[in-house]
Symmetry: C2
Subunit: 117 residues, 2 copies
């Protein structure tokens, strides 16, 4: 069944490296499609398509000015991702890593003993 239609999940939108690049390029500034094309060196349809996905998910918003469309990041939509990953943060801290390695050592010892039985 392939991956579920992802275009409505920020996690999935972000899974595509190009879309992450796009968000990085936009950063806090508003840019037109052509500016993004120039900046990234992709084809125009490619930029438009990825922007389309990001827009559907709500990760960018669009503002029309003349024939241009100015895009900007809608950072609030990234909050769910931040919120999801943050609880794991404590487990990659340096102190945790040390503790973890220590426990790993102890554990190996236990396994050896168990085998020798």
């Amino acid at each position: 069944m392939a991956r579920a239609p992802t275009t409505y999940d920020p996690f999935n939108a972000i899974a595509e490296p190009k879309r992450r690049q796009l968000l990085e390029a936009l950063g806090t500034q508003e840019l037109s499609v052509n500016e993004l094309v120039a900046l990234l060196g992709w084809t125009q349809p490619m930029v438009s398509k990825h922007l389309g996905v990001l827009k559907q998910v709500g990760l960018v918003s669009e503002r029309r000015v003349g024939r241009q469309r100015l895009y900007r990041v809608n950072a609030a939509q990234l909050k769910p991702i931040h919120d999801w990953v943050t609880p794991f943060e404590q487990y990659w801290s340096e102190s945790f890593e040390r503790l973890n390695q220590l426990l790993g050592q102890i554990h190996k010892g236990e396994r050896k003993n168990a085998r020798k039985k």
Copy 2:
């Protein structure tokens, strides 16, 4: 060309909701495949397959004990995701939202004026 082979990118591994569930279920505890099957109510091959992907990306590690395989989260691999999303954090804070809305109002005014010209 479809999405680039994602099995080596944590962002992509995490894009699948089931794999996020799996990581949540594991949390900080070590669980066997069957325990996860019982906990999540999925089929055993399904659990094994998703664990396989997570393992390839390094998001979980495996420890063999008898016929069981105990899996646990390798949180450090989530750091890149945290690091990527964090810089955007400031833009969804409450105070930023207020400022942003205010600027939005001003902007609308400008557009109207520009049009009337």
